[in-house]
């Protein structure tokens, strides 16, 4: 793997009881980060973090348009997300709703901003939930996939021993 010496590291904070703020710097210009974020073939390549296969990446990039991403983990666990675009400023900002299909009542509003000049971009994702329970469940579900990874790995190890 190529070393990415100039990129940043993700930082997650909880600014209020109902929010999650994720920030990360990239060693690439804004329009490329935006492109990777909004182009289905590209989304399929990064969004799963190589934890599985992205089977769906639908992006109807206009206000009122819908999006949906689905991944199937190596262990066969399917995870889907969808939402609707509320505001789009090309290369600058996307506001959209997001629903984790495993918990359909917990709709969040995401504000994604791309800032920076030249070869650097700062990405911020502000996730606004309607209540703390949904915010907390969101963080929990973010880790369930990690747990799933561990289980998948365990299964592989068990099979290699068999």
């Amino acid at each position: 793997m190529t070393a990415m010496a100039n990129s940043g590291t993700a930082v997650v904070t909880l600014p209020t009881d109902t929010q999650i703020l994720i920030t990360r710097e990239f060693a690439a210009p804004k329009h490329l980060v935006y492109r990777a974020w909004t182009t289905p073939e590209l989304i399929k390549r990064w969004w799963t973090a190589r934890r599985g296969e992205a089977t769906v990446a639908e992006v109807d990039l206009r206000v009122g348009g819908k999006w949906r991403y689905v991944m199937v983990t190596d262990g066969g666990f399917e995870v889907g997300f969808h939402g609707e675009y509320r505001e789009i400023v090309e290369n600058e900002r996307i506001v959209s709703t997001e629903v984790y299909e495993g918990m359909p009542e917990g709709e969040a509003l995401n504000t994604i901003t791309f800032t920076g000049t030249g070869e650097r971009t700062k990405l911020t994702i502000l996730v606004q939930h309607s209540c703390r329970e949904h915010r907390d469940a969101h963080i929990e579900s973010g880790m369930e996939s990690g747990l799933q990874d561990a289980l998948d790995l365990l299964e592989q190890v068990a099979q290699s021993l068999g």
Partner: protein, 118 residues
Amino acid sequence: MARAATTTDAFNAVAEPRRREILELLARGERPVNDLVARLRLGQPQVSKHLRVLREVGLVDVRDEGRQRVYRLNGRRLKPIHDWVKRFERSWEERFVVLDELLEELKGEERGDDGDGE
């Protein structure tokens, strides 16, 4: 699905914004109650109430110094919460590392390279 540690006492205790402010103040060093009251611009009874909650879940410790009660942060109890957020952070970082590689590729395409390897 089981809802893990989020509902344990320490998590609830830090869910309250004023209590988080107290923890942030104490993170910079121990402080007497009066000092906290002055900085928070809250009434003494409210501050005492928040401190009692924090003490009950072990997030702060208290000692008497003369006539003053001095509070300090018990960082060890904050660790599960810190770890909780860190694990979520790591799962995003895994994604971003893949995105970094993809962006290198897109930069190469814009420069007109044919891409030599990853």
